[in-house]
């Protein structure tokens, strides 16, 4: 009987040591998943500063012992990421179009200058000498 009680106490003590480690590992894993999803948004050109701030706050809450509050905040962040994911494709497309147009304009400048500059020069040259008379 005494041995059973001692075994139960030892098991309880072991759980008290192991459980925080397991919980902590789950929390790290959860944070990591959210960071990875944030990376996907970041790579598409979205501003993820707010997400990172919220995640850091969740970590602070967790380390202070407010595990429930941290979990609630992580759910909020998850929801926020899902909302941003919906608009991510549109933002990505718009940014891509802007980049392509910028590249085309920049690439076109030397070509335009090559063709238009001599014409412009000649136009100005003739304009300034329009009233000249050729004398014999």
């Amino acid at each position: 009987m005494k041995i059973r009680v001692i075994n139960a106490i030892m098991l309880l003590l072991l759980l008290l040591v192991v459980l925080p480690v397991v919980l902590s590992s789950d929390f790290d894993s959860e944070i990591s998943i959210l960071v990875e999803r944030t990376n996907e948004l970041y790579s598409k050109g979205l501003n993820v500063t707010i997400i990172l701030e919220k995640l850091n706050y969740a970590i602070t809450l967790y380390e202070e012992g407010s595990v429930e509050e941290a979990s609630v905040l992580l759910r909020e962040v998850e929801s926020f990421i899902e909302d941003m994911s919906i608009t991510a494709s549109n933002v990505y497309l718009v940014n891509m179009v802007k980049k392509v147009v910028t590249i085309i304009v920049l690439a076109a400048i030397p070509v335009i200058v090559y063709f238009l500059l001599p014409r412009l020069y000649l136009y100005v040259w003739y304009k300034t000498r329009r009233k000249w008379i050729v004398a014999r």
């Binding site: 790290d28 894993s29 990591s32 944030t38 970041y42 050109g45």
Partner: protein, 135 residues
Amino acid sequence: MRPENPEPFTAIGLLNEECKIGEYPKVVINGSSIRLCVYTANYLGRPAYFKVVYKLAVTETLPSNTTQSPEQILREWRFILGHSEEKVFHVNIPVYTLRGETRVALVFELWIYNSSRNMWTYTGRWNHLYVNITV
């Protein structure tokens, strides 16, 4: 959409109580706490989950750029840094003699969470500060 980062790196630095370089404590009372500052930076090209780990070590058990110190972890600080983000924060750390040694190294290792392997990975970046302990 983001330009590729050709030389990704992370950084960790140890600063004094005023978060400046220099004037580090040289002598510490055994069993007391001291206040320092840790600087970290993320230039990996993406946000990442980091932790700074504090250990007490001797010369033979210092970490290297491939292996962490085998000593016991005494404190951890976890945070997320965005790309090109830096963080400086105060730390209060316990200092005591280690296996009778009165000259110990205060070791700060930088770890990163590897999401593909689902575990913390030592980055190979660390700082250490030797102090003499008065008993």
